[in-house]
């Protein structure tokens, strides 16, 4: 078993799903001969044919809507949005239809679709190619929002997303598409879609994160360890539904929480986690819940993008503040 990257794991899971289930189809802009602009769909069209792996015109509204129509007919469409910056034309279809059809029809029509999109900054991409707006989707009822952060989790969560009977927004942190390699066994095993993954065990502070920020957060945990501070690291992974049980249990143990994310701060998933702590975990908190996040400003173009993205220092400084607070 060779070691593979996160984007290769996405590809592996897609191939597996296409292989296992004739209802699975993959489509989007440039996913065919080009293999997707990040090569996530490389080789799939050659292997599974033009009817099951289709290049489409540039039209995100109809891409989303077609996925809904296909899913309503019992297919398992996996539609790619080329970048999260272009997903907004699909929002009407997601919030008004994908997330609602089961409920509207009392279970008669269901929408087992997956919408994939690479997201996040840090790869020196052009304007509009680096945003993180997962919170907008987390606010919508009736859907799931999933973010993998390792090759193994990308594989297992993607399979779970495709097999899930409800719509899943699957956001891929493109900065770490090729950052690490890991052995991934193509055994068709899915991972659960509603639990956090605990990446580090710790006792002094809980670091909660998701997406590419796992990278900085783990580094911060290493540095804290050097300083004798034991940080628990949680990868939320399924942003919606949110597994607060795991986070609350961790904070009950550590008494401190720092949430780290790339997205703009206001009404972010970080806000939701902190709000839950203020409601259900308050009495366990020794210190303010800190959020180290993207700012409430436009994601800068790439010359300044690393001034925007939370750094290891910003995480460390927040942790130290929570340690001083009590």
């Amino acid at each position: 078993m060779a070691e593979i990257t996160l984007v290769e794991a996405v590809n592996l899971a897609l191939a597996r799903a296409l292989q296992d289930d004739p209802n699975v189809i993959v489509f989007g802009e440039d996913v065919g001969a080009n293999g997707g602009v990040f090569r996530a769909t490389e080789g799939l069209q050659a292997r599974f044919g033009h009817e099951r792996v289709m290049d489409t015109p540039l039209a995100e509204t109809v891409l989303a809507g077609m996925a809904i129509g296909m899913a309503a007919q019992g297919m398992r469409p996996v539609v790619e949005m080329q970048f999260m910056g272009f997903i907004y034309s699909a929002i009407d279809q997601i919030i008004n239809h994908a997330g609602r059809l089961r409920n509207r029809t009392r279970g008669r029509i269901t929408v087992p679709m997956v919408m994939r999109a690479p997201f996040g900054g840090g790869i020196h991409a052009p304007e509009h190619h680096s945003e993180s707006t997962e919170a907008m989707f987390a606010h919508m009822p009736g859907i799931r929002v999933v973010i993998p952060t390792s090759p193994a989790r990308a594989y297992g969560l993607m399979l779970a997303a495709i097999r899930d009977p409800d719509p899943v927004i699957f956001l891929e942190p493109k900065r770490i598409y090729r950052m690490v390699k890991q052995e991934v066994i193509d055994d068709g095993e899915a991972l659960p879609l509603d639990v956090c993954f605990q990446l580090r065990d710790g006792s002094d502070v809980t670091l909660v994160t998701w997406g590419a920020m796992v990278h900085e957060t783990l580094q911060a945990a290493d540095r804290l360890a050097e300083q004798g501070i034991s940080a628990e690291v949680i990868d939320v992974a399924t942003i919606k539904p949110l597994d607060m049980d795991t986070i609350l249990a961790s904070v009950a143990k550590t008494g401190r929480c720092v949430i780290v994310h790339e997205a703009a701060r206001t009404c972010s998933v970080g806000a939701e986690i902190a709000a839950n702590l203020a409601e259900h975990g308050l009495m366990n908190l020794f210190a303010p819940v800190m959020r180290v996040s993207g700012y409430d400003t436009i994601m800068p173009m790439f010359r300044m993008e690393y001034d925007y993205l939370p750094s290891v220092e910003r995480i460390l400084s927040a942790v130290h503040k929570t340690l001083e607070a009590s």
Binding site: T61, M66, R102
Partner: protein, 367 residues
Amino acid sequence: MSDDPKHGIHHVASFDIHHSQVLNEHSELVAPLPYFTHEAGALLDLYKWMVRTRTFDAKAVALQRTGKMGTYSPCLGQEAIGVAIGHAMKREDVLLPTYREQGAQLMRSVAMHEIFLYWGGDERGMSYRDQRQDFPIAVPIASQVPHACGVAYAMKLRKEPRVAVVTLGDGATSKGDFYEGLNMAGIWNLPVVFVVTNNHWAISLGRDQQTAAQTLAQKGIAAGVPGEQVDGNDVIACRARIGKAIEKARSGGGPTLIEPLTYRMSDHTTADDATRYRSKEEVEHYKSLDPILRLRRYLEANKMWSEADEAQLKADASAEVDAAVEIYLGTERQAPESMFDHLYETLPRAYHWQREEVKNAGGKDHG
């Protein structure tokens, strides 16, 4: 611009739009009866379904007016189109309707009380006990068009001889969703028929303010999809042209856009007051084109229909509608916690407490 080789100008492409009619406003045949009428009783069927639809529609308005139902969008005057669609489709086809396709929906086994429930504010009005595949109406205008392309793609991929029929209004043609879907249908030669009901109004916006295009049928040209107009108050022509388009799609011939020309005789919905923006004269004019009257006169002139038949039909339709009203009014509210029961296949743990809270909430005091 015209062909002018001396000035380097060459003609590249030509397009034409046609309009068809079979039974004109005077109930005269202006064309031979189309093939589908060879089936015994076809015309009578169309007629009966139109009357049934109108009876249903009038009752729905009455329910709203008497406070027994919420806002409702009548299909008064447009029955020919819905009934033509319902008659032309096969059971295994899929309809993606607007809120004025009651005729088609009833013919496709949506129960009358389900439609009442829907406008009565109850989700079960979309559960369609006897119709498992058709979509419920899409309230965000034109957003059903992309769904139709997806449904049709699935049919095509599975090599099933089935067709998706999507209906929309003149107003819907201004929305990107419509055009994006039309374009997809063109590229993939999908088995989908677009019925664009031009009833001349989109709430208060008249057809001429909706687009500078001379016809709505020509919008197909933008996507390489053939388009045509049909007299939307002539149920025979509607049934013929829509049926032809459906069978063409079924046999791999690809999509068609059909623009039936009709008129919204009612207010936009029971919450609307059309006298604010259109003239009585206009409405009166269109009354004379009524699709039901038009066919009835033809049937009577050809001894296919009598006063007695009419009386019987009306009585039957009323009885049917009244029975549906009874079911509707007798339907208990859903349990409040049911708002969580169809959110996901299995309610995620994260929301269990919310379901419990709704379930246990006593009163609902809002002052």
